[in-house]
Every structure is written in C-alpha cells, then in structure tokens.
Amino acid sequence: MTTTNKPKTLVVIQLTGGNDFMNTIVPYTNEHYYDSRKKVVLRQDEVLPINNDLAINYNAAPFKRIYDEGRMAIVQGIGYPDSNRSHFRGMDIWHTAEPDRVGSEGWLGQAVRQLDTGGENVLTGVNVGAGLPRAMAVAGVPVTSVGDLEGYGVMSKVEHQQVKEKALEAFKAIYGQAIGSGPVAEYIGQTGLNVLDGADRLAEVASGYSSTIEYADNEISKNLRDVARIHLAGLGTRIFYTTHGGYDTHATELQGHPKLMKNLSAAISDFLDDLDQHDAGDDVVILVFTEFGRRMRDNGSGTDHGSGGGAFLFGNKIRGGLYSEYPSLKPVDWEHGEDLKHTIDFRGIYGTVLEQWLGVEAQPIVKGAFEQISPFAN
C-alpha cells in the first residue's frame, strides 16, 4: 500500500533502564551538579554547550549537530506523579499511560486502533526487536513485531527454500483452519495468520532498499536501519517502536554511559540522514523516552534510580530547542531524598505527538487533559 500523500510516522525509542538525564543534558555551570556528582560527572571540557546553563554530553556529539540544525527538541523534567523508582512499575506506567492503576492497554496500541479502525493493516504498528512491548499491545489490535528483518516470520530457520515453502503452506493450513474451533483457537489462528501476512509484506523490503549511509554495527543502529527500510518501503506503518537497553547504570556508568550515548546519537543521526537521502525526512518524528532519570548524587561508580528525567524529539518538522523546565537542582527542591522533581507530565508529551503529529484523539488514551508543548514546525 504505497501512499502518495505520505502519512506522518512516529518512531518511539525506549531507553531501557533509566537514562541519566543529568549526564545527557548536562547543567555544566550549576554548583549543585558538581557538589552532588563526585565521580559520575562530566567536566566542563567534556560537554558541548548549547547555552550558558546546559550542554550536551560530548559523547553524543551528533546530537549537538542536530540540535544546532534546529531538529532536536529537548523535553526537560518529564516524569509522572509519585514515582516509586521501580523499573517495572515505571515502564508499566509509561507503556499504558496509567500512573494511578495498573493499565491493561498500551498507549501506542490504542493509537494503532484509532489509525486503523478495521484492523486491516498488520503493519500499522511495527516493533523492531524481540517480543512485543506492552506499549504496543492491545487485545484484538494486530501489530507486528520484527526481531530481525532478514529472518522475520515463522519457519525462518528451515534450511532449504523448497522445504521452507512447504512448511509455510502447512503452517498456513493449520492456522487458517483454526477458524471455527472455538474462540481461543480462532484467536491464536488469526494471530498466526497476521504474523504470516506481516512476513509476506516485509519479505520484499530488504531487496527494495539501497542507501549510502553506513550504519554502525550495533543493536540500536541495526534496529533503526530496519525501521528506515520498512518505512521507505511504504507499507503504511504509522508507528514504529524500538528499544535501546543498558541504561541501568548503578555501577559501571563511567564505562557504560559514554558508549550508550555514542551509539544512540550516531544511530539517530544516521537514521535522519538516511531518511533525508530518500526524501522522507519530513514524514518522520522520533520520540526518545526512558522510564526515569537517576539520583542527584552518584554512588561512586554509578547512579541509582531517581524520578524526573528527560525525553527528546527529533525530525525535520521539529522546532528545535528546550521545552518545559530543567528540574531544580537545589537540595531544598529534591523529593524522596534526592530525586529531581518532574516539571511536565509525560501524558502531555504523549498528547502532543498523538494529536499534533499523528492526528489521533489523545484524551481516551491518556485519560485526561495534560499540558502539551508545541514542538512542531508548520
């Protein structure tokens, strides 16, 4: 399904583990930062200033370029009320947009339901990576999860092509005939057919793509390259999801975080360049989020779970700059001991991308009216 009027597409990147926002967008002239961070700290010669107060971690140099080009919005102090510092509850809340109760429907799955009311295109929502994140999961809303584009689908490990074809036929027969054998078997049958349908349509993606961009050889670059390839194939995908893991830097932040910053910023930069090269840069916006920020003080080798963090938006249609406010670093303003207090509710940012970018009604998804920002250029 190639469309001519190029529908707007959202790419969500989850930084798993709780990214240290203070060491990503660094308050490099703030005394409280240097008072609190003794070891896990960026010196003033390790940052790339964007104004007199804030600077980008020099390991994320590509972000500085994108920021200077006006294509990066920094959402400062994003969070949710009453953070309990748990990864799991934190991710739950971000995935379902329900901080007050345990939600069962993913926020992006609900957006897919609005975008594709008949459930006709199993590729309207695509996760690139293993499993299906809760954010994408809503019962009865077909979405696709692609672990590896080259080997996507079932029976992908069967050695010979001719045998594989027969295996797929058998699989299709078995899953197709589950219809009529009870609601649960039917549901599983339909899910299997959706996997096949997605695989069929994705099969041609790899061969139709060419680019001069050379992505790095790591997970996030590989995943964003897959996103680019699927997007450029014009299969009607409106929401992509992918994950960059390793941000739970309790102990080895000095070794781990610089590499994460390098890999993430290079991957996003290559991805944006790739889209531009294919004249598709205006159709795509990226939202980067993490479940929480980290504690004000370091623990000598890393940082422990905190609350207020930061999110980022990237894209040609983004009006770059700083949004909301950087959380106050003054000890008197800390909460739960030494957490940064969030300054904007994440549901307002969800509302922003849902309504202003995807054209989806946000209220039923975030369940309320939350302060939005205006990060989109006309």
Binding site: H87, V102, H160, A173, G245
Partner: protein
Amino acid sequence: MKSERALVAHLMRRAAFGATPTELDYLTEHKTYEDIVEDLINPEKFEELDRSYLDRYYGGEQVSAQVAKWLFRMINTPRPLEEKMSLFLHHIFPVAWGKSEHTHSIVVEIEMFRKIGLSSFKNILFELSKDPAMIFWLDNNENHKDEINENYGRELLELFSMGVGNYTENDIKNASRAFTGWTFRQPLSLYPFGHYPAVFEYLPEDHDNNEKEFLGHKGNFNGEDIINIIVRQPATAKFVSRHLYNFFVEDETQVPSWATEAPKNEDAINELAGVFMESSGDMKSVLRVLFNSDFFKESMKLPKVKSPTELVAGVLKQTGEFNKPKPGIHVFANTTLNGSATDGTMSIMGQMLMNPPTVEGWHTGHEWINSGTLSERISFVEDQFSDESKPGIREIISRIGSLENDPAAIIDQCLDLMGGINVSESTYEALVAYTQELQGFTGKEISEGTGIHNVLQMVASTVDYQFA
C-alpha cells in the same frame, strides 16, 4: 497396560510438565490412573533432587541463574506436582524481585512454596504472611499499631483468599490491624557479609492489642486468628477452587472479573469447594478429587493455553538436553532488566519467573498470545527441535524409524512421543500432508538436511500445541 496412555499424558501435562515417552511407557504399564494421582499428590514418597549438586551448577544471585535452577527442577524432579504447585502459588501470590530486598528473598519464598504447596490452605496463608519477601512487597513492615498500612490486609482478602464482594472496608482495616507487628529483620548486616535471607520477626510492642471485628467475629485477634476465620469462609473455598480450576483444568476469565462473571463450570467449583470445606482446606484432598474427576478427564478439549513456563519446561523435558545439570539453561531466563544484553525466551514470551508484573500476577489464557509472543514460541520450538543429537529427540527418532514410513503412522507416533498431544482433525491432516511433501524431496542435497525433526518442529508449531 494398567492405565490409558492419552489420559495419563493429559494428567502429566497438567499436573506436571509433561512426560517423556519412556516415562509414559513406565506409568501406563505399572500404575493405574489413580495410583499416578496418589504419587503426584504425595511427593514425599520420592526422593528429592540433590540440592548441593544443583547449587553448584546454578548458584549466584542473578535471577536468571535462579530461574534456570527452577526450570531444571521442573524438568527433572521426581516430584513434579511439588514444582507445579510452587508455580501455582507464584501465580496467585505474585511477588517480584523488582520490589524486593534482593533476589534471595524471592528464591527463599519459592522454596517455601515448594514445601507448603500440598499442605492446608491455612498453613499456606500463615507461611505467606510470615514471608519476608511478601511482607516487603506489600509493605507490612510499614504496618504499625499507631499507623496502619492496609496493603497486605487488603490483598490478603481481595487477591489471596476470598475475592472482591465478600468483605467490607472495615474487615480490611481490622485484618490489617491484626497483622501489625508482623515484620522481618536481617540476620546479618549487609556489609561485609553480603545478602542473607531476612527472617520473620514478630514485634509484640508494635502489635495493636485492642479488640477487632472481622467478618462478624469479635476478639483481640492476631494475624493467625484472622487466617483461621478466612479459611472457614465458603467464599475462600470457592475462590481457591476457582484458582485451581483455572490453573489445572480450563482457562477462566482474568481474576479481577471473577466477582461479576460466573465460573466456566459452576458444578466443578462447587464440588471442589465442598471438599475444601470438609477437609479444612487440605490441598491434597482437593487435588485428589480434582484429578480424579470426570470434568478433569474430559478437559483435554477445553482451552487451556500453556504459560511460557509450561511451554519452555515441557519442550526442554522432551528434548532431554538438560536431563543432567549443565550450563546454558539460564539463557531462557535472561532479562535486560537484570543487566543482560538480550532478553531470554521466557521474557520475550511474557513471563519473567520470579518477576511477575504486578500483585495481580500474570494475565493468563489467550492473553499470553500476541504476534510477538507467538513468533517467539514458534522460533523457540524450531530451535529446540532442530538438533537431532539431543537425547530426547534421538529417542523419538529411533522409535519412529525413518521418514519413509507411512505418513499418518509417523504423525500418530510423533503426537504420542511428544507427550500424547491432541490435535484437531484439520491440523492432523495438514501434518500428514506436510510429511508427504517432505517425503517427496528425494534430491540428495535437500533430503540430507530433512528428516523427522522437521515434523517435530511443525507439530510443536501448531495452534494445538499452544494448549496444555
């Protein structure tokens, strides 16, 4: 033959983690169905696995190593219902290391489940209420005589025993008061000794000694008195029976809807609840009736979707790759939230053991299945059944013989040898047709890599195989 093979296979899938062909041969030849039920519900008749041996292979604090050890037990234990009941209690009393003092506390809790799963429900609730992991998870260490924290008291009634609609807010408050002073302490300081399991501690000075009113009873109740009252309630008998039915017989709706939706089989629940009341909540008595009942024997055709744990343990048991302790089983249990670079199979399928998502536990039944988890299930069985040198697969192939045999006979044997699997007529026909196609590949290059393992992969990939 003393017992019917298909029925024994069904029992072993539900009450255990499946059975190998050799085990099915032995059981059907030497034991009646009723004998096998007795063996299952009386695990003390069989020697347990050598703990020190297991600890040497699967030690350490990483939760993936601890889940690996649990998986190994499920696959190899001579007391499978003991493990299945630990899993059952883990489903209904879900405590996660995501909110725990350390992984040890969950490991100790599961060990406790292993010991008490087949005792009385009263004993189960008593041990649960003294469990440091549970106390920390539901904040009972924050439940003080002058500052009540109702978290444990509420879930004890709502999720762990009676279900919504059978008690008042006042009952919750009074139950919580009765559990004041029930806390835990660390036996040794964290530094420099490292993590040691915490121990239960009762602090009389922090216990509310005033009169309490609970479910129509009045007295200066302590936690144990509350449990005594709870386990005598018909609502508890029905709620626990419904949990057992949901776990062993047929998928029910998700637990939060039980207050408003009738059970799938009301008669069965009433029968089990009756035994529960008569036996004062003796789990062995209830399970004896359950496994010997007609509704259980006829439940082969009822939908009961395998949990990721049941699928993974069941497949690993069949392939025999881990029939002796060896490294590698932890890869199924890895999680990126525990510092691993990649998620393991069970995490991708939606069940991180020892780390359930919330106090409600996992949503089960068809909610285990979506396009991501289904792809992972199929990719997992493709991997596991690809290597013909694994002992379990070698055994199956040697019994079947050659791919050149009659295709229907091959499928009959595969279904039997993979644990007495039931498939629909249309699945059966598709499997026979696929086998015929495989027989058609006569060229040397293809036929060398093609064999019975392709059939095993397909059987394990069917819709039907997703059901226990």
